[in-house]
Amino acid sequence: MSRVSELLELRGVNTHIGQYHILHGVDFAVAPNSLTMLLGRNGAGKTTCLRTIMGLWRASAGSIKFEQQDITRTPTPELARRGIAYVPENMGIFAGLTVRENLLLAARAGPLDEQRLERIFALFPAMKKFWQAFAGNLSGGQKQMLAISRAIVEPRKLLLVDEPTKGLAPAIIQAMIEAFRELKRETTLLVVEQNFHFARSLGDAVAVMDSGRIVHRGRMAELAADEALQQRLLGLSLDTHQ
């Protein structure tokens, strides 16, 4: 049953990419002011799910609602204007632009808000240090920090983040966990992740995908406490040791 309080709600969402049927009736919801983890093995359809929400791929059936409004056919730029920010798996930074220009581009309302900028610098000091550096010259961790900074340079209602810890060193992952804890205080997040330590540390709710379907929904704490369930749902592909 739909609850009025849900910020984002997917019902029976199907997505085809060319001849391939990737999502098979995905149902889940994201409550406001929460961090929902979307977990699953490689190829389960997690990235497709985020891209479908963001309008980058079109749902062939089903519906997506954001703040009780149907957004299934809404163009991507309009979704961004409504307050949904997307950080793709490849981070999507503009390598030929400086850190400053990357953030300036994301600030659609006009000049950069100094207070938000200070907060970003507090979360990610590297952004201040490399303010005028070309984004293409940043390290992998710094690029991820820039991608997330760009997503929060203006107030957003929902952040869709695809594998924020992919390829990052453990020390950077710890810094990311701290940063996401801060982010949770001001916005709602839907995060695709393979790193179970990261997911367990931050997630309020969890949805697990397999073969394009949601196979489990619940509280993250419950999944974290049930090793048998983890093994059944996530198998060995999820790294539980980091």
Binding site: T76, G96, R108
Partner: protein
């Protein structure tokens, strides 16, 4: 990667040519001629490289915008004989400015029509883009035959832009100096727009990653149309300048120059305006030096330059991060 290294190739090629040319004045004349040719190629090519980088469109019809611009501009120039024959530069400008505006307006309008009717249905499909834009180019050439006739049209230069002046013993054609000045002005204007304005920031970002620009809330399709029209208008400007440079025009002039334009944008790095500028200068200089020193090699010099540069930098002099 050092950004100045490709730029340094321009003076390096000039200096390498110096001992091969029998006298310094001849070298100066050839260098100015090469730079002028390069600037005109840059004006014609800069729009195409942005269209390719931003929209991933293989637009062979760009040659039609060059031809149509040349014919529109020539029509105005030929109709304003008194201004063309005036012995003052200001008087000549009375014909040149309306001609350039007509060339850019008609080519820009044609670009807008092409984007809406011909290119839009085939976004994302390179094979279809090549087929329909080549078809569009052929149709435009035939339409030029219908409107302006099939014969070559002679286009005398404005009175104050004919002939040469001397710097020491080196003869410099007046028109070529004008081409250098206009080329530099266009490059400076494009640099300012791309690097000092929000639209420029969006274009640079869009060339790298269109999807991400949309995800940030920008309707990139509108930007596409604007860049396509601006690129077509620049092709029209380049067309009328090229026609005055050659002092004649034919319907096929756009198609003929497209080979060089494609070489320039590949050398420069697809989507890179700076790369297009450096590539055009290299092509212009090399064509003039080799045309003088070893005329039999002139035809292949551009291809050889492209091969060498792609062996050195496979994505061009200034690759755009994708």
């Amino acid at each position: 990667m050092k950004n100045w290294i490709p730029l340094a190739l321009v003076p390096v090629i000039g200096l390498l040519a110096l001992p091969l040319v029998p006298s310094t004045p001849t070298w100066v004349t050839l260098t100015v001629a090469g730079l002028a040719m390069g600037m005109m190629i840059f004006i014609m090519a800069s729009g195409l490289t942005l269209v390719f980088g931003l929209m991933d469109v293989m637009n062979f019809a760009h040659g039609a915008f060059i031809s149509v611009g040349a014919y529109a501009g020539a029509s105005v120039l030929l109709a304003m004989k008194p201004a063309m024959q005036s012995q003052s530069f200001a008087g000549n400008l009375g014909a040149i400015v309306p001609a350039v505006l007509a060339a850019m307006a008609l080519a820009g309008a044609l670009g807008w029509f092409f984007e809406r009717v011909v290119v839009r249905p085939v976004y994302g499909d390179h094979l279809k883009q090549i087929l329909v834009t080549m078809g569009g180019l052929i149709v435009c050439e035939q339409l030029i035959h219908v409107v302006w006739g099939p014969d070559l049209i002679a286009l005398p230069r404005p009175a104050t832009l004919t002939g040469s002046f001397l710097i020491g013993d080196a003869a410099i054609e007046r028109y070529r100096m004008l081409a250098v000045v206009v080329g530099l002005a266009v490059f400076a204007a494009m640099w300012l727009v791309l690097n000092r304005t929000r639209i420029g920031l969006l274009i640079r970002a869009g060339v790298e990653n269109r999807e991400m620009v949309e995800s940030l809330g920008y309707r990139i399709r509108r930007l596409f149309v604007g860049v396509f029209v601006a690129g077509s208008a620049l092709a029209g400007l380049g067309g009328v300048m090229w026609a005055m440079y050659q002092e004649s025009l034919t319907a096929g002039m756009g198609m003929q120059v497209m080979v060089v334009i494609f070489i320039v944008i590949i050398i420069g790095g697809l989507g890179s305006v700076g790369g297009c500028f450096v590539g055009a200068l290299l092509v212009g200089l090399l064509a003039n030096y080799i045309g003088y020193v070893a005329p039999k090699l002139a035809l292949g010099s551009n291809i050889l330059l492209m091969v060498l540069i792609l062996l050195w930098r496979p994505r061009g002099l200034y690759p755009v991060g994708k």
